[in-house]
């Protein structure tokens, strides 16, 4: 099977940006011909099974990677399964996702890791890279067997959803994980400072009578983990950065050469605490939506490279968890099928150039997790095609995810993924393309 992607703007950060044709054969990229409409353009071989995809006016980039996703299986299959999550990822333009370990049972042993990979193989859509737990049962008491987990296929460790409160355990995790080349992904939160908070601390929380979460709840732990990374020389990746103080701390740490990377999620650069409105549980997540000032700082952090990655923190919940009193609702929103559209707004707003956006959604997660994912000859054909001009209204009814907990329903956006290819196989194609 041959596929020719013709006439698109190929954006492969650090490698190439321009009009080119890409020829895919047997799941791999076999040829990239730069320059428009020359006779040297590659063509499909007569007599072979083939397909030509017209990508004129589209962005063709290395497959997007979402390094922060909750697939909920095993244990919470009514919220999401590996299959439905993979379909949602494909529809959102992702060719790979990292699944967080807070399932039931927790992914803290090789059996669960293998189970996830097996379900992903059956789903046969996008690539799934399991993130294993830092500590047994996410309890912050004992290290997991990173050697075993790595052999089973884990690509990083994280207690995501819960912070590692014990500084000594975090230190040892960084040291021990370093021996296996596994990055430590840190959910930064001081539970004492959290003190039952459910929205950002400030005028909004005060007005609505909701207990607030101060910025320091996140940033004190970001600073601790930076210090531990300096101590251990182990790489640390800061998950879901939401505050100005965290951005500053990471910026300063990078400047002095600390091995720290960071991600944020589309809701943190799109929304603010005010979007919680009249107690909308679909705008409740952890860390919470912050102030305008924080949103600005996150955008600056993205622009100057302090924040390396855009990840969704896709966190499906059903009406059982969300149609309840605000303070009792679970944290988290879905994000796989809105991320590209919301992130393209950063290009529209001149925060990022398109190649920087691709860097944050593909190249950088690949670098941090050590995946080979550029558009190079011989690489697996993991490719995302984006239509940057497609104007549409987000409609949660059409989502592939099993859950509907999004604050973005009904929002007018511009641009979306229109085709997702994993290993040469088209796993999603927009019907109206």
């Amino acid at each position: 099977m041959q596929i020719l992607i013709k006439g698109g703007r190929v954006v492969d950060p650090g490698n190439f940006d321009g009009i080119a044709d890409i020829l895919v054969e047997d799941g791999k990229i076999v040829e990239i011909e730069k320059g428009k409409g020359t006779h040297a353009s590659p063509s499909v071989t007569q007599g072979k099974e083939s397909r030509i995809i017209d990508a004129a006016g589209k962005i063709v980039c290395p497959g997007l990677i979402d390094m922060h996703v909750h697939l909920r299986e095993p244990g919470h299959e009514y919220k999401e399964t590996i299959k439905s999550g993979c379909l949602a990822a494909a529809a959102g333009g992702f060719t790979a996702v990292c699944s967080m370990p807070n399932t039931n049972p927790v992914n803290d042993n090789s059996q669960v890791t293998k189970f996830i990979l097996q379900r992903a193989m059956i789903a046969d859509t996008v690539r799934v890279y399991p993130v294993a737990a830092i500590s047994k049962g996410l309890e912050g008491k004992r290290l997991c067997e990173y050697g075993d987990l790595k052999d089973a296929g884990a690509v990083a460790v994280s207690d995501d959803g819960r912070p590692v409160t014990d500084g000594q355990l975090m230190r040892r995790a960084m040291e021990y994980a370093k021996g296996f080349g596994l990055p430590v992904i840190s959910h930064c939160e001081d539970l004492n400072l959290l003190a039952g908070g459910v929205v950002n601390e400030g005028a909004f929380a005060t007005k609505m009578g909701l207990p607030g979460i101060p910025n320091a709840c996140e940033s004190v732990m970001v600073m601790r983990d930076i210090a531990l990374s300096e101590l251990t020389e182990g790489p640390v990746h800061i998950a879901h950065v939401s505050t100005m103080e965290s951005v500053r701390a990471i910026r300063a740490a990078k400047k002095r050469g600390v091995s720290v990377t960071a991600e944020t999620a589309p809701h943190y650069f799109t929304l603010t605490e005010d979007d919680v409105g009249q107690y909308d549980t679909n705008a409740k997540m952890n860390p919470p939506l912050r102030s305008k000032q924080d949103r600005e700082a996150v955008r600056e952090g993205l622009a100057d490279g302090t924040i390396d990655v855009i990840a969704t923190d896709h966190a499906p919940h059903s009406s059982i968890e969300k149609e309840v009193e605000f303070d009792m609702a679970e944290n988290g929103i879905i994000g796989l099928e809105t991320s590209v559209s919301l992130s393209l707004q950063l290009v529209e707003d001149n925060v990022l150039k398109i190649d920087q956006l691709v860097e944050k959604m593909s190249t950088n997660p690949g670098r941090i997790l050590k995946f080979e994912n550029g558009l190079k000859k011989g690489n697996p054909a993991d490719i995302t095609i984006i239509d940057p001009d497609n104007l549409y209204k987000i409609d949660a009814k059409n989502f592939y995810t099993l859950s509907r907990n999004t604050p973005f329903n009904g929002m007018e956006v511009k641009g979306k993924a229109v085709l997702t290819m994993v290993g040469g196989k088209v796993v999603f194609e927009d019907a109206q393309r």
Partner: protein, 312 residues
């Protein structure tokens, strides 16, 4: 003016005209409670559910008496005696109540926004009887009524609210209600109990409790919850009483015609000395009396009492 509002959720959503109309109606309702036969037929045939997720004596009794004096049928549901203990969600309980066609549901709940959720999802009128730390509009209205009775008007008054502002829905509703009606509101208390951004409600935070007590036309003391000590909000009741409590000695420096208020229940000897609570400046029990009148007015206005009266 016709009262069109279906739900009473918070002071933010009420206009000045609506507040005045509620207070005027309450003034006329007050007389009913002073008759020997304390009952009028105005809400005959109306069903009012008092749905209390949180313990309450004053507010629930006040609503119950208000409903009965207007001849409505009222019934109480509390969290401990309802299906909530069997794990039913708030919204399911509310939908079940709705299916029995009540006219008004009065709700108290520990979660901010719970009444707003009900108002969005079910059809009866919703009256918020206190939601978490968010709002307690009927308390604010009865406070306004009591101040208006004693001072003729609220406009231009300097009102000090002292104590745990952070955890007080009464403080929030009064910040909004008092400023809306033209008063100046000054807050004071330990810094641990002053929430961030409270100034955005149009009030100011005083650096010193003593000064505020001297200048205010009205001093409202808030209840200190003893269990807050474990959240490191204050070190001891003893110190709280000494630094922030209202004693007779402090009262000596206050204005001659100062009014002392408290939403209750009071902690004698902590935020307020017994001789102040029981003293000549205290209008704490007038607040309770007016609570019935304000709640009668609200039930009358939202349950279509005006329309009922036309046909009777």
């Amino acid at each position: 003016m016709q009262f069109e509002r279906k739900n009473i959720l918070d002071m933010t959503s009420l206009s000045v005209d609506e507040i005045n109309m509620i207070l005027d109606t309450a003034d006329s309702m007050k007389e009913i409670s002073q008759r020997t036969v304390k009952k009028v037929p105005t809400l005959r045939g109306k069903t009012i559910v008092l749905f209390f997720y949180e313990p309450s004596t004053r507010t629930r009794t006040s609503f119950d008496i208000a409903a009965k004096r207007l001849s409505a049928d009222s019934l109480s549901i509390s969290a401990s005696t309802s299906s909530i203990v069997k794990g039913e969600t708030l919204i399911d309980t509310a939908r079940n109540l709705e299916a029995m066609n009540p006219d008004v549901i009065v709700i108290r709940h520990s979660s901010a926004g719970a009444p707003h959720m009900l108002a969005r999802m079910i059809s009866p009128s919703i009256i918020n009887a206190g939601d978490g730390m968010h709002a307690h509009p009927t308390q604010s209205l009865l406070d306004l009524m009591t101040i208006r009775e004693n001072k003729t008007e609220v406009k231009g008054l300097r009102i000090a609210i002292i104590g745990d502002i952070s955890h007080s829905r009464v403080a929030r509703s009064n910040c909004i209600g008092f400023t809306k009606m033209g008063a100046e509101v000054i807050l004071a208390g330990p810094r641990t109990m002053i929430p961030k951004g409270i100034e955005t409600l149009g009030v100011s935070v005083a650096p010193d409790v003593e000064d505020e007590m001297c200048d205010a036309d009205v001093i409202m003391m808030l209840r200190i919850q003893k269990e807050r000590q474990k959240d490191f909000l204050f070190p001891s009741e003893r110190e709280y009483a000494r630094v922030y409590g209202l004693s007779n000695k402090r009262l000596a420096n206050a204005k001659d015609d100062v009014l002392i208020m408290h939403p209750g229940p009071i902690n004698r000897g902590v935020e307020i000395a017994p001789e102040v609570a029981d003293g000549p400046y205290s209008i704490i029990l007038e607040q309770v009396t007016n609570g019935v009148a304000v709640r009668m007015a609200l039930l009358y206005l939202v349950a279509g009492g005006a329309r009922n009266a036309d046909t009777d």
